[in-house]
Symmetry: C2
Subunit: 178 residues, 2 copies
């Protein structure tokens, strides 16, 4: 009886020992000075894919995608539980259209309410409902218990990743160097 783990696709298994080292070698042959950059970018892409797939698996039983979870958590972390749509886009760093989309779906499920701002009628305020708060809390507990998909990774390794990637954010100008 085979085990048949039913991996979601983020868990697909490569057919070479380490596809990234492999690609690095290939690149080195023709563009040696760019091979490290290529490998770093590919690593980020692949890590993101793996992590996202694990996180969504944790969230799925709670009926949330990662995008929905982030939106809900953002509102839950706000004192009043309310934020203008535009502000949410900035904080989550996603396109305004995406915010409209996610909040629309959360609204239909009664997890978030939507109302025009009294101060500026162009602005729409999203507000988390009690049900939304409960779900956010529940999902957060689940994610923590799952160690965000990398429970097996020692905390120091995790911190190294954050540090190494800070350089990317700085280089791209998201962060001031300081």
């Amino acid at each position: 009886m085979r085990d048949e783990v039913k991996t979601p696709y983020g868990g697909a298994v490569p057919d070479t020992p380490d596809p990234i080292s492999e690609a690095h070698r290939q690149w080195s042959a023709r563009w040696p000075e760019h091979a490290d950059h290529m490998a770093a970018v590919t690593s980020v892409m692949r890590a993101q894919q793996l992590l996202l797939s694990r996180i969504e698996a944790v969230l799925k039983p709670h009926g949330l995608t990662f995008a929905a979870y982030e939106a809900l958590r953002l509102l839950a972390f706000t004192r009043t539980g309310t934020l203008p749509m535009g502000k949410m886009g900035t904080r989550l760093m996603v396109h305004p259209a995406s915010v409209t989309n996610v909040i629309g779906r959360l609204e239909r499920r009664g997890l978030v309410g939507r109302a025009p701002s009294p101060d500026d009628r162009r602005v729409v305020l999203a507000t988390i409902t009690p049900a939304g708060r409960d779900l956010a809390e529940e999902a957060t507990v689940a994610l923590n218990e799952a160690g965000f998909g990398i429970a097996a990774l020692p905390a120091e390794r995790a911190a190294e990743i954050t540090a190494a990637l800070r350089a990317v954010r700085v280089s791209v100008g998201e962060l001031s160097d300081e």
Copy 2:
């Protein structure tokens, strides 16, 4: 005259100095033992978003998305320029349906051809055309020149990222520890 860079959304600017440190602080207050994992995962997500947006900006003038570029490059790197659809999915680590999708679009543009395998008629072979090769080469040069979106990052920093993320791939079981 303001500069108005017209940032694609990956380039949105946060409104706090470092949103990730911020989140780490928030998390530490309630779930100290998970804060590092949370921050690492968030960093990967954010870095991916930033890099993808820069890379797609480089690719756009050539009429390619990143997914399309990867498929084309994979074929171009093959000696014969031909690969079964399934194999492409494995190599690129994407769902078979995505391969069908991307190859379909490339085929319509004459960059790739498609034909059933003579050996096994379940199998469909994708083959890069001369036009496809030219475009792949052109796009690769552009990406190299742009340093894959992180030209400003010293090669050593790039290598650190690859090393740090290898731990994720190992922890998730994509790679054997060796």
